[in-house]
């Protein structure tokens, strides 16, 4: 990673001397209306596969969910659903988007909740943008 930062600083020099200035971006907030929230909560229940990769998300109606990376969870890691370490979470949808609640270290630490912006959610397709502005698409399996 040291190389990464070296490259980054070299890049910064390039930026500074290029005299190409771009104004700073501003973030906008798009809130979801109540009806859509309720509909999304129903539509999201099921098992979804991330486009192009073996990443499976399951959303249960009771608000629980998990992420797996294979048919049984992650064969490559020699780990199976039910083993300690499988990625489990609680989910909710509110006006700001899909909230994934995760705890680690036996519940001592709550990963800060940062809603995913729901871009599309219907019977077959789920698409969201994460808090680091990555867009991810899913197709429904069940």
């Amino acid at each position: 990673m040291k190389k990464f930062f070296s490259y980054a600083f070299m890049a910064m020099l390039f930026v500074m001397f290029s005299s190409v200035f771009t104004s700073c971006a501003s973030d906008e907030e798009n809130l979801i209306d109540d009806n859509s929230v309720e509909q999304y909560k129903k539509d999201i229940v099921g098992k979804w596969q991330k486009s192009g990769v073996k990443e499976f998300w399951r959303f249960d109606a009771q608000g629980a969910g998990s992420v797996g990376y294979g048919e049984e969870w992650d064969e490559a890691d020699d780990i199976y659903e039910g083993d300690d370490g499988t990625m489990k979470f609680q989910w909710d949808i509110n006006a700001t988007g899909l909230v994934i609640k995760e705890k680690i270290s036996g519940g001592y630490f709550n990963i800060p909740e940062s809603p995913f912006t729901i871009l599309q959610l219907n019977a077959s397709t789920l698409r969201w943008e994460t808090n680091d502005h990555t867009q991810e698409s899913f197709i429904r399996l069940k």
């Binding site: 990673m1 040291k2 190389k3 990464f4 930062f5 070296s6 490259y7 980054a8 600083f9 070299m10 890049a11 910064m12 020099l13 390039f14 930026v15 500074m16 001397f17 290029s18 005299s19 190409v20 200035f21 771009t22 104004s23 700073c24 971006a25 501003s26 973030d27 907030e29 990443e55 992420v67 990376y69 969870w73 992650d74 064969e75 490559a76 890691d77 020699d78 780990i79 083993d83 300690d84 370490g85 499988t86 990625m87 995760e102 680690i104 270290s105 036996g106 001592y108 630490f109 709550n110 990963i111 800060p112 940062s114 808090n131 680091d132 990555t134």
Partner: protein
């Protein structure tokens, strides 16, 4: 038998009195039967109170002159008494009476010189009120001159003959009956029967059948015959002498709770020469009998005693003070058979001689010089028995069993018990064994006041078939009573030399004890058959035990006290021990070798042989102390050197007051409690322990190597598989497997811990292992890299699927050193290796691990914060290049401050915007990188302060680390220009800072 004799004498006296009357009548007037009979009848009626019937009386004056002979036929005396066996008191078929005619004529004196009874019977009766049917003589009236009676001055029976007479005597007052059938007697005497003085020669005395019976006893004799008896008496003294008394058959029975029947056949009493003179006896005579049989007990519970040809010779001499006999008896072919136990004695010959004496009051008996030979065994004995009153018997006994062999003693063991000795071979030589005892029986209750026993055994060989053999060179045993502080106990002392014991059955046990001494105190009542309670003192020089050629135990100088109690708890043996051993060495094949010094066991145990498990069987409550010890256990790669042990072992708990030991490189001081030991051994509960560990140094790697997999089977770990070629397979790696079936809490206080080549100091905190789960609870420690606090949980459900969650805080961390200690941190927080210097690092996370502890990225979830100042951020060459263009010459290679918050999950590490300041420059960096092989990343840099361009420039850098030449750099808008300007922040920026604060505050709050 005295009573019947007395009665017989009285009866005979009555008949003689009748004869006397008849003789007087005959001498005075009557001579013809016709004249004589009424006269005799008349005199009889006057003389007797009962009815007398006389058939015929005649008199012969010349046949035996100067004696006159009177003959009476069919004499009957009738005296009815209620409940008597007959109204007829006596009946005589023929009665002859001889008188001295000259004495009668000249001196008017009646001198009966002989009489003969032939045929007849006597029925004598005593009623319950004492009334008899034989008190038939009228009281004498005052004498007158006209009728001066003739006097019966002398009854010197020179010839007496009795033949074919039956006598029946019933005494309702005493509750007894006596019958004699076919009584025959001939005697000649010059004695005066009236004065009971003179000599009597009994020619023959015989009874065909005698029968005696009272409420509890019955006696029957058949064919009693006594010949040639010389009897001399002066009324006070008597001497008797005869050659032979024979009784063909005797049968005696005694009823009661333990009925006894005795039959003696063909008894002969020979050469009797006895006297009763001045109230003391002299006797000589030998009694023999062909056989005797005694049966004791009730049907089905009887003991049968039989003896053949036997002799008893007990001559008696006497002084005014004592009567003494020098006795000899010989019993041949003694057999004793018990219905329950079978043959107790078989064909045993007993010969005994002794000197016995008693005082005239029969209250003081002394037996001396008694020598009894039973089989091949000789026993010497003496005794002093006192009977001060009817309720008390005091005895002082001394016995010596002469030097013998065990074989000779075993010959005396009842056959019934020999079945228990089947297969047992014993050979030994025994010295004289002495037994001395003083005892008393008061009101039937036995008590012992003194007992001393001593015995020595040499060269004893004992074997039970091929299964067991024991050899003892010498064994001394002494028993003494009374002993103990309260003088109420029995003391047993034993000294043993050269014990060699071998047991060879399902297992082989060989034990050697060169020398041992045992002293035991037991309550007196063990003599009554009560189970023993022994207070013993033990001294054993050395014990060597070899079991199955694999287990070897050697104990040196074993000594102390032991209390053995078999009576307080039914079917259990209680044991109190205070035992020490200077050295205990034990070895179990190649698996264990131990050497313990100065070991003590103080406490109790209750032995229950019905329990299958060892702790249930022993139920210990034992304090164990040891000064030093060394254990070499094959399964442990390191020896255990114990420098002190002080603990208490019970069935369920081990209390360690102190255990100081060295294990490998570790020094361990342990204090605490281990519980559920017994249930844990039975797989019914977890073994629970709560211990404090104090140590100067612990080698964690060695300890983990030892503890790994304890209580875990391969089945518990399940099937292994690993599809990841980059990781060692479960078989190749050897991860720490958390022990199972235990629940241990260790409060640690360790000055130095070494692990993986690192040194940590002042480790304090709690370490818990709970059935496959290992927990570090707020454990604090330091190293030269940082001060640390760790809470963690580690599980090992499968060898290739370990799981760990942690809460790790490092204060004042040296980053490079920390990465060296925990290399995986570089994977989780990749940019950490880009910095150098000290910082605070907080990391919380969880992940599954491969067998080689490599994280399984699909499971990795973590959050971290790094806060530091003055961190070196670039290598010097790069920095010098950059410095030429951006910084002053004096600018150091450091960033002013760094605050990183990041979250890892779903194979991705997300870095929240972090502010980096260096000199006059300031930038905010954020982005993510995937935790996959190539680690693709996407980062954004916002230049928020720059003296050259003024700031507000953004750059996105995208690529993966494996292909730096393909990095994509793209100028973009400045995302975080106002992130650290509160007055200009937008909602998203506020939220980002809020998230950062959430992360850092949560993590910091975990530091205790």
């Amino acid at each position: 038998m005295k009573k019947p004799i007395k009665i017989t004498i009285i009866s005979l006296g009555s008949l003689l009195a009748l004869l006397l009357i008849v003789a007087i009548v005959a001498v005075n007037v009557v001579f013809s039967p016709k004249r004589l009979t009424p006269i005799v009848q008349k005199y009889a009626n006057e003389f007797l109170t009962c009815k007398a019937e006389i058939g015929e009386v005649d008199l012969s004056l010349f046949g035996s002159f100067p004696e006159v002979s009177l003959r009476l036929n069919n004499v009957v005396l009738v005296n009815p008494v209620e409940d008597a066996q007959s109204d007829t008191l006596a009946r005589v078929d023929k009665l002859y009476c001889s008188l001295d005619l000259m004495e009668l004529v000249n001196n008017k004196k009646v001198d009966v010189t002989g009489f003969t009874f032939y045929g007849g019977e006597a029925n004598l009766f005593v009623a319950k009120d004492g009334t008899t049917n034989f008190d038939i003589v009228k009281p004498s009236e005052p004498e007158t001159e006209e009728s001066e009676p003739m006097k019966l001055d002398k009854m010197s029976l020179s010839n007496v003959s009795v033949d074919n007479v039956n006598v029946s005597y019933i005494d309702d007052k005493l509750g007894m009956t006596f019958d004699a059938f076919d009584l025959m007697l001939t005697l000649s005497s010059k004695a005066n029967i009236l004065s009971m003085s003179g000599d009597v020669n009994v020619g023959n005395f015989g009874v065909e059948h005698l029968c005696y019976k009272d409420s509890v006893n019955t006696g029957m004799l058949d064919n009693l015959a006594l010949n040639d008896v010389a009897l001399t008496t002066d009324g006070k003294n008597v001497a008797v002498k005869f050659d032979l008394l024979t009784i063909a058959d005797q049968l005696y029975t005694l009823t009661g709770e333990t009925p006894i029947t005795a039959r003696i056949s063909n008894m002969r009493v020979k050469d009797v020469d006895g006297a009763w003179h001045d109230q003391r006896p002299v006797f000589a005579g030998v009694t023999t009998f062909d056989s005797a049989a005694v049966v004791m007990g009730t049907e089905g519970k009887q003991m049968h005693i039989n003896v053949d040809q036997s002799t008893i010779d007990m001559p008696v001499t006497s002084t005014p003070e004592r009567w003494t006999t020098t006795g000899v008896f010989s019993l041949n072919n003694l057999n004793i058979v018990d219905d329950h136990d079978g043959v107790l004695v078989k064909e045993l010959d007993i010969d005994s001689r002794f000197v016995a004496s008693t005082n005239a009051e029969f209250k003081d008996f002394i037996i001396t010089d008694m020598v009894t030979k039973a089989g091949g065994q000789i026993v010497e004995a003496s005794a002093h028995v006192e009977l001060p009153d009817s309720t008390l018997i005091k005895a002082d006994l001394k016995t010596r069993v002469k030097s013998t062999t065990v074989g000779e003693l075993l010959a005396l063991v009842p056959k019934a018990y020999k079945s228990a000795l089947k297969g047992i071979d014993v050979e030994a030589k025994l010295d004289d064994a002495d037994v001395a005892a003083k005892c008393e029986i008061k009101n039937g209750a036995f008590s012992l006041s003194h007992l001393a026993v001593s015995s020595k055994v040499h060269k004893m060989d004992y074997a039970e078939g091929k299964a067991m053999a024991a050899k003892i060179d010498d064994l001394d045993v002494e028993v003494a009573y009374p002993s103990g502080a309260k003088k109420c106990e029995i003391e047993v002392k034993g000294k043993l030399l050269g014990l060699h014991y071998e047991q060879r059955d399902s297992s082989t046990l060989i034990a050697d004890i060169p020398a041992a001494a045992l002293t035991a105190l037991m309550p007196y009542d063990v003599i009554d058959g009560k189970l023993p309670k022994a207070d013993a003192t033990i001294e054993i020089g050395k014990i060597n035990v070899v079991l199955d050629d694999t287990i070897k135990v050697a104990l040196d100088k074993v000594g102390g006290k032991a209390l053995l109690d078999m009576r307080s708890k039914k079917d259990l043996i209680a044991l109190n021990l205070d035992i020490t051993s200077s050295k205990i060495e034990a070895a179990i094949a190649q698996s264990l070798k131990s050497q313990l010094s100065n070991v003590s066991f103080i406490g109790s145990a209750v032995y229950d042989d019905k329990q299958p498990e060892i702790l249930d069987m022993l139920n210990p409550n034992m304090a164990i102390k040891m000064q030093s010890g060394k254990l070499e256990i094959a399964e442990l790669p390191y020896a255990v050197n114990i420098s002190a042990l002080d603990g208490v072992l019970t069935k369920d708990k081990v209390s360690l007051n102190k255990l100081q030991m060295a294990l490998g490189n570790s020094n361990l001081g342990i204090k605490g409690i281990v519980e559920n030991v017994n249930d844990w051994l039975k797989d019914r509960a977890l073994l629970e322990a709560n211990i404090n560990l104090h140590s100067d140094i612990v080698d964690a790697d060695q300890i983990m190597e030892i503890a790994s997999g304890f209580g875990v089977s391969d089945e518990d770990l399940g099937a292994e598989s690993s599809t990841d070629k980059d990781h060692a397979t479960a078989a190749e790696a050897d991860p720490f497997i958390v022990p199972k079936n235990i629940k241990v809490l260790v409060n640690t206080d360790v000055k130095q811990v070494t692990a993986q080549g690192n040194i940590f100091e002042n480790l304090k905190g709690k370490l818990a292992c709970n059935d496959g789960v290992l927990v570090f609870e707020e454990m604090g420690f330091t190293s030269k890299a940082a001060k640390m606090q760790l809470s963690a949980m580690y599980k090992s459900p499968r060898r290739n699927n370990l799981f760990v969650e942690w809460n790790f805080h490092l204060v004042d961390i040296d980053i490079a050193e920390m990465i060296r200690i925990v290399p995986d941190i570089d994977t989780i927080v990749p940019m950490l290796s880009s910095f150098a210097g000290k910082a605070q690092f907080h990391l919380v996370g969880e992940t599954a691990l491969f067998a080689d502890y490599t994280p399984k990225m699909s499971t990795l979830k973590a959050a971290a914060s790094i806060e530091g100042t003055d961190l070196v951020v670039m290598d010097n060459e790069t920095f010098r290049t950059v410095k030429k263009y951006l910084f002053k010459e004096s600018t150091p290679n450091k960033i002013d401050s760094l605050s990183v918050e990041m979250v890892i999950g779903r194979k991705k590490a997300t870095v929240y915007p972090m502010l980096i300041s260096m000199d006059k420059y300031q930038a905010v960096v954020s982005g993510f990188h995937n935790l996959t092989d190539a680690m693709p990343f996407n980062y954004h840099i916002s230049i928020t302060k720059c003296p050259i361009v003024g700031g507000h420039v953004g750059l996105d850098i995208i690529g993966d680390l494996e292909k730096p030449e393909d990095f994509s750099f793209k100028l973009v808008g400045c995302k975080y220009a106002n992130l650290y300007r509160p007055d200009k922040q937008n909602v998203t920026q506020e939220q980002i800072l809020h998230l950062k604060n959430q992360i850092s505050s949560q993590l910091r709050d975990m530091v205790k």
